[in-house]
Amino acid sequence: MHHPVKLGANDVQWCFSQVKGAIDDDVAEADIISTVEFNHSGELLATGDKGGRVVIFQQEQETKGQPHSRGEYNVYSTFQSHEPEFDYLKSLEIEEKINKIRWLPQKNAAQFLLSTNDKTIKLWKISERDKRPEGYNLKEEDGRYRDPSTVTTLRVPVFRPMDLMVEASPRRVFANAHTYHINSISVNSDYETYLSADDLRINLWHLEITDRSFNIVDIKPANMEELTEVITAAEFHPNQCNTLVYSSSKGTIRLCDMRAAALCDKHSKLFEEPEDPSNRSFFSEIISSISDVKFSHNGRYMMTRDYLSVKIWDLNMENRPVETYQVHEYLRSKLCSLYENDCIFDKFECCWNGNDSVVMTGSYNNFFRMFERGHRRDLTLEASRESSKPRAVLKPRKVCAGGKRKKDEISVDSLDFNKKILHTAWHPQDNIIAVATTNNLYIFQDKMN
């Protein structure tokens, strides 16, 4: 072991590693990062953006001379996954924005990922090529034709080495199954099916079949006037192939067992925390809406993110979460203005570290938060250009909730709500995290001695 893995937010000194994306303050809409996802080995990191592009970074192999510097992530492949479209029947524009990326478990030398916009899911293959054929009979390699009469023997082309080329090719397009906007995709542990969820329905697909999918959850009321709740996120259990959960705008999470019936309209578990009457307000329902749900790697727990908190649920206990972490409780007094500037509808995602001991989620002012579970310790860090010197240790930040502001504290009023961290990802094994600010991707890792 070169680097003993220390997994505790406070044992780890997080330091800057890399920042990707333009330095300009002038942000092009298309460059806004909309999803970040490590593959299963952590060797590849994919981002999707509002312009429909997917950028894949690859971790460089460790160099022998510097045993303590882990490889940096460099661009491996960039491709246009989705294009803007227009649905002529419904007179609807379909944005190219990549809502989610999910990597498939590696099946051969190539890598595969699913990417989705609001309507269409695509399966991409990313493969390397380092050989190309050479030798024609009837023309030169540059394309000039030979006189056929000079051909006296047949020549079979041979493969010769060439510079490594990475190709991304679309392998499958899963379209026309969603009336509403797709918010989640999740690959099943059977490695042959995946789900896609929109506001009202969840469909089950076979990875090799594009012309049909099965609707397994449908919460659309017969009369749309009676609509009170929408699906906000859905995920398969990491190792129980029959279990899936979906969260709703009302703050509940339903667990379905696909063994019980072909249609999962009846959930087998409903996770819901009774509302605290003292905190009840006009905004209660909005802020209780769940923006993300993620199973822990071991499959025992799941984490949900609502507007102000992160909750960890034990799958065996439905009536309340086992842990609740306040992400930015100081915003509770600001909900009115956050409602007016629409920030209250921001969809923050959350993620687990490799051994499920720490969870991470984003906040405003380019802050992101980590919560160390066993120790109930937490940490606020900032992704900013100022601290982006190589191997610079990140200083913990603190927001002053009221009263007298101490040195090094930031007042709630000076937080920049336009700078928000919605998407973060944690390397599946190592202490390497990827944090997306608006159009920049920051990579941090623990400082190694």
């Binding site: 478990p105 590696q106 099946k107 051969n108 030398a109 190539a110 595969f112 293959k125 493969s127 090529r129 050989k131 054929p133 024609y136 009979n137 009837l138 023309k139 056929p148 009469s149 051909v151 006296t152 023997t153 047949l154 020549r155 079979v156 082309p157 041979v158 493969f159 542990s189 059977d190 490695y191 042959e192 090799e208 190792n239 129980q240 192939c241 029959n242 696909m258 063994r259 019980a260 019936a261 072909a262």
Partner: protein, 589 residues
Amino acid sequence: MAGADGDDSLYPIAVLIDELRNEDVQLRLNSIKKLSTIALALGVERTRTELLPFLTDTIYDEDEVLLALAEQLGNFTMLVGGPEYVHCLLPPLESLATVEETVVRDKAVESLRKISHEHSPVDLEVHFEPLVKRLASGDWFTSRTSACGLFSVCYPRVSSTVKAEIRQHFRTLCSDDTPMVRRAAASKLGEFAKVLELEYVKSDIISLFTALASDEQDSVRLLAVEACVSIATLLPQEDLEALVMPTLRQAAEDKSWRVRYMVADKFSELQKAVGPEITKNDLVPAFQNLLKDCEAEVRAAAANKVKEFCENLPEDSRETIIMSHILPCVKELVSDTNQHVKSALASVIMGLSTILGKDNTIEHLLPLFLAQLKDECPEVRLNIISNLDCVNEVIGIRQLSQSLLPAIVELAEDAKWRVRLAIIEYMPLLAGQLGVEFFDEKLNSLCMAWLVDHVYAIREAATCNLMKLVEKFGAEWAQNTIVPKVLGMANDPNYLHRMTTLFCINALSEACGQDITTKQMLPVVLKMSNDQVANVRFNVAKSLQKIGPVLDSNALQTEVKPVLEKLATDQDMDVKYFAQEAISVLALA
């Protein structure tokens, strides 16, 4: 001179070889499909040393090209120099067996299985078996899944040491980390068991089967059900109870509906494999449970098997089992809440009448048939009607006709045109079963009404239906009942109906024969050549072309020819076109 001759014959091959790497997929595909031509031109030596190495590296290509390549290589033995050199084909097929696309992999495995038989026993151990091992221990699951399909072809032909290794490899793959490989192993378990010695079936296969059948992945467990059929067939009857039945019972009560569905779906095969005694003791209650399953998909799959299951019951106890165990479940299914279940049942339930005989059918089944004929779901009613012949043999259709008629009429007027289309297609069958009298009295008017349906597909099917009826009932019947009505429509104010007359004539002329066609139909067609709608007129031309061969030459010359000549000078270009076409086809020019 010899060289120049060589050039000529080389050129097409040179083109084919160059197109192996053309940018156009279609051209590459074309070249791959003519790979044998290329190999023939190169000769066996160069095919082995140059062409095959090139093909081995060509795995970057599109799936369809790889698929074609995988297929070609299965038939390549002679082109590389015969069985002695067949192992040269292994490298390209090995690389094809690791690609991610299942169809390509499967085809590569199929070709590998094919050429395995062309290996000598020595080559099999020296070349083929090592390849299987490499695939079986490959880093990626694609290669390991491919390996699963190759064990059974080499096992019978290798030494006992190698056999032991192969069994070990198969065991390892059955407990692979990835569900794909376990699925591949589970799906090949039965096939592998067939080539194993019975002692190893009992010692190895049974434990693997038991493990796969209790895998944590539903998708693996359900494949074990399929293997159960083959394994049960291999074992002596006295071992079944101990070795197979515990697992099968467990599968029939699996928590996952998909596994129970698989049991229901394979029920007839299972029944044959385990034999009559176990069927009586175990499968009957299991089948009852599946028919009452809480998941509709499972009930539907089981309902589909009702007839086959009953048919294959041991004769001595068949009737008792059906009457006391199966029929009560069937009765419940008739009023199931799910229409797919009812419709699955309706497609087989009539078959029970031949098994149960006249009295039981009248007493027990008839009420069920009648209930299904009144079902709210059209598909259920259609399925009953489409199987009427089974009942007819046993009790005669008259028993049903009272209920049949309203059901048919309702379907005939269903709001969904596909339902109307389906019932039309059963009309000739019904007509045959019910007889001409009943038909004339009750159904004839329906058949005529479809001719003026507002959906073209229905009118078209109705036309075709008339033709089949005439074939059944004869020309005289046609002349008395349908021809007058069809011809009457020629004066309909709606031009679509007038065209239907022409379409009917097209369909009926042959079945009706020369006399009716010349005397009754032709005058109407000719008269319609003056129709004000051009579509009708050019259909007149088409009809004349169609019925021409049925007419005698006198009518053709004196009546048809002048009309076609007139139409050939019509203002409308389509009318002209079809008139001229008819003139030339009928050789009237």
